[in-house]
Symmetry: C2
């Protein structure tokens, strides 16, 4: 199949390109390489030394004997998006090319606006480009489990049957996002739903949990490494805990650390997206996948990192709960459903504990890249402060 990946230079986009190429698909990609700049903007870099896009493409050619067609450009430029879609007319577009950090969106008003404007604009451009240039293209759009928030009821897979005052309907599951970034993903979801109603655009809307891991089986040589962020703005809690453990710093869960989230291994996220691409939604169909395997609390994660540090790195790590910069329930019910990927044959391939060995081993290898940036892994932000670039007063 012909697959176009937006955000092909990113943490997921790059291993997805490798995976689809290895499975024999014809892959092209779009990126403006802005995540590299944005991570530099907050004073950080990838823990893994990643190759430039040019070197990545050369390595694909040399080692896989394949061609990855790369279009460097901005999804916020309509003519660029339209021309790429017209040229490629892909079977599927996997849309990963968005600003993906909640803390980045909370830095100040400009980062809030930038996140929502760019994410919404890029999705609208892709929807219109599909409609105008390639109406049969199946859109696989990356959303987040964070769109749902943490209601005190089970979280359905996109839609739920509800009874209210004696009448019933199947309606979208309510969204309650907790950052400007997470709302931008809700906005995308609304626009994709509408394009499906207006034009019958075939769409798979992926509500993804937090991804973890430094490796997939396709990442089997240094040029194929994908990025791994560990600073407070771009790294996930698990990534920060792993780097803190390697550096001998305390692990810093926010608040009580009982916030639960759904998680999935990088390799299994690739499996899921591939299943979505290879088993496309039909014309007129809009389907939602809650894409995660297991849910853990932040404290669960920290404790697993402590254990893995002892067993794999042979030293101790400590947990110091820190001030919670986020506006979120610290103790809550959490039972999201995830059936739709299982129906397509999805199987969980590895546990978080197995991945931790791999992550910590990789991070040990690149320790000097962490040592030189050890200040960015400790908490400094506060979502309640409208300008996080001003010096912060951190309570507690």
């Amino acid at each position: 199949m012909k697959v176009l990946i937006t955000g092909v230079d990113g943490y997921s986009g790059w291993p997805l390109a490798l995976h689809l190429l290895n499975r024999g698909h014809d892959v092209s990609g779009i990126d403006n390489l802005i995540t590299r700049k944005r991570v530099a903007e907050v004073g950080s870099h990838s823990a893994t030394p990643i190759a430039s896009m040019t070197r990545r493409i050369q390595a694909v050619h040399k080692h896989l004997g394949k061609t990855l067609r790369f279009y460097r450009g901005d999804l916020c430029r309509w003519e660029f998006v339209r021309q790429v879609v017209r040229k490629e007319r892909p079977d599927a577009i996997v849309h990963l090319g968005e600003q993906r950090s909640a803390p980045y969106s909370m830095i100040d008003v400009h980062h809030a606006v930038e996140t929502q404007v760019q994410n919404v604009t890029s999705t609208l451009h892709i929807l219109y480009a599909i409609r105008e240039e390639s109406p049969k293209t199946h859109l696989v759009k990356m959303g987040t489990m964070g769109e749902y928030g943490t209601p005190n009821i089970d979280i359905a897979e996109g839609f739920f049957e509800v009874e209210y005052l004696g009448r019933k309907d199947r309606v979208p599951f309510p969204r309650q996002a907790s950052s400007w970034y997470h709302w931008s993903k809700v906005f995308d979801t609304g626009d994709v739903m509408l394009a499906n109603r207006l034009w019958g655009t075939a769409a798979t809307d992926v509500m993804q949990g937090v991804i973890y891991g430094t490796r997939t089986p396709d990442i089997d040589r240094p040029e194929f490494l994908t990025r791994f962020d560990f600073d407070e703005v771009w790294g996930t809690a698990l990534n920060r805990f792993c780097v803190q453990a390697v550096l001998g710093l305390p692990l810093t869960p926010y608040g009580k650390g009982r916030q639960r989230r759904g998680f999935i291994a990088l390799e299994d996220s690739m499996q899921s997206l591939t299943l979505a691409v290879e088993n496309p939604a039909s014309q007129g169909e809009y389907r939602v996948f809650n894409q995660f395997d297991e849910s853990y609390s932040v404290t669960d994660l920290a404790q697993m990192v402590v254990t893995a540090t002892r067993e794999d790195l042979h030293h101790e790590a400590e947990i110091h709960n820190s001030y919670n910069p986020r506006v979120e329930a610290e103790e809550h019910y959490y039972n999201p459903h995830h059936e739709n990927l299982l129906k397509l044959g999805y199987r969980h391939s590895r546990t978080l504990r197995q991945s931790l060995t791999e992550i910590l081993t990789d991070l040990e290898k690149f320790r000097s890249r962490l040592e030189s940036h050890r200040e960015v892994v400790m908490p400094r932000m506060d979502f309640r402060t409208p300008d996080n670039r001003k010096p912060l007063h951190i309570p507690g």
Copy 2:
């Protein structure tokens, strides 16, 4: 009280300024006058001959003996918004300054992006300006009943208590908008909810029905007239039916005409917004008002216009159902709740039938302005077509 109105040059903004001034409030306003340009862009103009903003302000001074402080500028410019809010530090901001036409947002990709980007940016700027410059300001934000769509259950007032798989929670009522514009209002709602959670911003979120009318008691001289749009892009169905009736053209409900919506008189919308301003949400409170009086189907409206034409203008009008350019259920359940304004003392002041006499009489007065633009009142758009500026094939 000190009240800042964004979109003060608009259909609702201008009579709201007059009403609040007449009630003794200290009123300021922001506008970039872009609606006048956008209506000209689609080849139309206001049925009522409206004064320029400069003349409006002079008339307020001369006839009411009051000063309306006017800031001409764009809500998408952060420094402008921040400086006005810093200077005014109002008790309330009534935020009406958005692109408000669903068909305009459906013209093509650029109008879709413009609508969503500008509406979301302006709301984020206002939220941050309140947080940074005037944190006690109460935000009254204009949304639309169209955010809810037409589910097969009662529509709650913002939130509903739901039982799902044996557990209960109070969650936002699901949103199912049917244009890029309507989604932009859902996006605003999400952002206002989040600002309230992050910073405790006091907010009243108004889900307003379709407004009708050419007059309020405050519009008692020609300089005080507010705009009245009648073209397919900017005019409501009712406005178009009235103008069609005056011009002796057939009334053109879309499709079966059984689509039901909530309606409210311009005068009663002013009453509602004033109640919201004078009875503010408290710090930390986020409340939702479903702001409409009665619901009618499009056919009900057309038939009432036929009757009013016969009784008030003494001629006949015919109904010709036309192709439905929108993607909407043409027959559906519709029972939205509206309790919260009643609790504040809201009373419906006039019926739609009474308003129709006034609208038709006013339109007769300005007949030459309608005659010169008669082509813009007939249906031409198709929401299913991604570029409505290309020549349209209208089925049926």
